[in-house]
């Protein structure tokens, strides 16, 4: 390491290495419940805790840093690639431990998120990460949340060591298809990314077996693993992105897949310029589909297909699905199964659960639904309470669509008002007297005749 960098102050290092880590979206501290015990410091709460929100509105839960931003790889989308001219810095394991402990006891953070550029070799880097988190757990008795990256190409032994110390591990898929990866990240391949992912998955399931057989064992990545995909840097459509995500949930047992609207940080000519800013609305819609997969028993094939490869930007995917499947509606709140309730726009999975429990004793009215947390302005077209609709409405695709579009929250305020050109363009359409047939949101063949 050059002598100059050794003299860098802690605050300079933190500045460089938090700045370099910020494009990784995963900042959740969820998935594990662990009480503190009498010694040491720290516990974990299953729903996760947000400690602050930065000026871009994103949650700050973990001390998100790179161990170093030195890197031997040349991924085109990354600010730290070996060809770019940025200031380089590296922490020592002790510095990371001190920062984590001192931030944690002041309640600034929920734990540590440690990633890294590839210093010297994948094994060398993974070794440094392991050493750091071992110190944190063993020397400092830190019992809070730790999320670390598995470095693609690192020795499985090292990945396994890290897994027994961390709560969550992640390997970033970076780009949805092998083609995209080959173009933009020539040093990485599908193989080097999926191998550690599979390894972690297998270790997690072995570990669960072991823990059942003998109590008191160490748990391996108890909060599961996650990954992220960059959206908008390469030409993949929503269908491709979400099919990959679905595969990861099913075949790799992932806890979370994150989607990161591409930000062109280094003006690389191989990448799109995106003058309208990062594709935030697209990212938002992808997350909505992700929730439908994880909490609402949807499959990607119900929402997207080869013929209909992109999401409707004007309507959330659940409303969009409902409009194309009016034959399922209206749903009687006091009778419908939990699975059926989950499909109703405006009814969240928590509300659905509350409805099923509450109706065991009382017949529910629209007034009750409101108190339970159902968003009636969306749900009212699709439900009846004791056989009656809330208002006399038509079960007609164009009619309902028109009314749903009047609801401005279809495009979240923070995105609507973010001031990007793409959104103000949509907004004008929303305000005008909008007709489904004019907008050509759905190809004509896809329409399902209203009942």
């Amino acid at each position: 390491m050059p002598a100059l960098q050794m003299q860098m102050s802690l605050s300079e290092k933190l500045q460089i290495l938090s700045d370099a880590a910020k494009y990784d979206v995963a900042c959740t501290s969820s998935g594990v419940d662990r009480s503190g015990g009498s010694s040491g410091m720290g516990n974990c709460a299953a729903p996760g805790i947000c400690h602050s929100f930065s000026a871009d509105g994103r949650c700050i839960s973990l001390l998100k840093i790179l161990f170093t931003n030195e890197c031997i790889f040349n991924c085109a989308y990354c600010l730290n690639n070996c060809d770019s001219d940025v200031r380089r810095a590296a922490f020592t394991p002790d510095e990371v431990c001190t920062l984590t402990m001192e931030f944690y006891r002041r309640n600034y953070i929920e734990g540590l998120f440690l990633s890294s550029g590839i210093l010297i070799s994948p094994n060398h880097t993974m070794g440094l990460i392991c050493e750091t988190i071992r110190k944190l757990r063993v020397v400092h008795h830190f019992n809070g949340y730790i999320h670390v990256k598995a470095i693609p190409g690192a020795d499985p032994c090292l990945v396994e060591q890290a897994g027994f110390l961390a709560d969550r591990m992640s390997v970033n898929l970076e780009l949805p298809t092998a083609d995209g990866l080959r173009q933009l990240a020539p040093c990485k391949s599908r193989g080097t990314i999926l191998k550690p992912m599979r390894l972690i998955q297998n270790r997690i399931s072995d570990n669960k077996q072991e823990l059942i057989e003998r109590k008191g064992g160490q748990s391996f990545v108890p909060a599961g693993q996650s990954t992220q995909m960059i959206v908008g840097a390469t030409p993949e459509n929503d269908y491709q992105v979400m099919s990959v995500a679905e595969g990861l949930y099913r075949k790799f047992g992932l806890k979370r897949v994150f989607y990161s609207a591409f930000v062109n940080v280094n003006g690389n000519p191989r990448l799109p310029a995106l003058p309208g800013g990062p594709p935030l609305l697209r990212e938002h819609r992808l997350y909505q589909v992700d929730w439908l997969l994880r909490y609402y028993h949807f499959e990607v094939s119900e929402i997207l297909s080869e013929e209909r490869p992109d999401l409707n930007v004007f309507l959330d995917p659940k409303c969009d699905w409902a409009l194309r499947h009016l034959e399922f509606f209206p749903v009687e709140i006091n009778k419908a199964s939990y699975q059926t309730l989950l499909r109703v726009p405006g009814i969240g999975y928590k509300s659905a659960e509350r409805i099923v429990k509450a109706r065991r004793r009382d017949r529910l009215s629209f007034h009750d639904l409101k108190k339970i947390g159902v968003v009636l302005k969306r749900a009212l077209y699709f439900i009846t309470c004791s056989g009656k609709m809330m208002y006399p409405t038509k079960l007609d695709e164009n009619y309902i669509c028109e009314n749903l579009m009047r609801d401005k929250t279809q495009i979240p305020r923070e995105i609507r008002e973010a001031g990007y050109r793409q959104i103000s363009f949509f907004d004008r359409d929303l305000c005008s007297d909008f007709r489904l047939s004019d907008a050509q949101i759905l190809p004509p063949g896809q329409r399902i005749a209203a009942l």
Partner: protein, 275 residues
């Protein structure tokens, strides 16, 4: 109708439940109120309740035994909620909703399910109050900031809407068992104290020396400035969106948060960050 007027606190409401139950007037003929009385109704009789730790403890014991720890926790959360900040003005009185929910729960074969029955107005109100208090507690588990004082004590100040100190106490005692810390509810003038290696207790903060809370440890300012720097550096400027930030982190929490205040060491005065 016999209206039992109780103090707005967990003990006050639990005592009210005890007295109303013991009165023998019949559940249909009694109501509880924890609100300051605005006007008297003609045919109602008003009975003031003297808060009693003993009666409250009896009620607490019964509720825990019959309904389980989880429901008991929810009822306490609801009792800690501030009515002004949960629901409309004409919503059911907190004490009355709790009383009716307890009556309902104890009449059920499985009282542990009582909070499922959101079709009942009293349960719905308890749910609303409890959720409101819990949401703020959960926010403060994240937004609360400790600063290290010269004595090594970790000090935090909050101004919550609901009476969340007892709810926060359990969380932070579990999290920081080996620290001496003090959380001060500035609005209610109450403090939560946790000596290292022990449990926590609540105490009156009227006599608290708040000047001592400005005498920081040697390293404190350095860590505060590292943290402020971190919060600034993590912003992706292409995604700048202060409206989303305001939505997720309401302004009311910010005066007590390190990253939204600059600390002027020379005058020992805090002032809001211009950023």
């Amino acid at each position: 109708m016999y209206v039992f007027l109780c103090e707005d606190s967990i003990d006050g409401i639990f005592t009210g439940i005890y007295d109303a139950w013991a009165s023998g007037y019949g559940h249909a003929n009694v109501a509880l109120s924890a609100r300051p009385l605005e006007n008297y109704a003609l045919f109602d009789e008003y009975i003031p309740v003297a808060t009693s730790a003993e009666k409250s403890a009896k009620v607490a014991r019964t509720l825990q035994a019959r309904l389980g720890a989880e429901i008991y926790q929810e009822l306490c959360q609801a009792a800690s909620a501030s009515e002004r900040h949960a629901g409309k003005r004409d919503a059911m009185d907190k004490a009355d909703a709790l009383y009716k929910t307890v009556v309902l729960a104890l009449s059920l074969k499985n009282g542990r399910n009582v909070l499922h029955y959101l079709g009942e107005p009293c349960v719905s109100r308890v749910f609303q109050l409890s959720r409101s208090a819990w949401n703020e507690t959960h926010h403060l588990m994240g937004f609360l900031r400790f600063r290290e004082l010269k004595s090594g004590l970790l000090f935090a100040q909050i101004r919550p809407r609901h009476h969340v100190l007892p709810l926060l106490g359990a969380h932070f005692s579990d999290r920081l068992p080996q620290e001496n810390f003090l959380i001060c509810d500035a609005g209610r003038r109450q403090a939560l104290l946790h000596p290292a290696g022990q449990g926590f207790f609540l105490t009156d903060a009227k006599d608290l020396d708040l000047e001592a809370a400005d005498r920081l440890s040697q390293q404190e300012e350095a860590y505060q400035s590292l943290w402020r720097g971190f919060v600034q550096d993590i912003v992706i400027k292409e995604r700048l969106n202060t409206k989303l930030q305001d939505q997720n982190l309401p302004q009311r929490f910010r005066p007590d948060m390190t990253e939204f205040c600059s600390y002027d060491a020379s005058t020992h005065q805090k002032f809001p960050d211009p950023q």
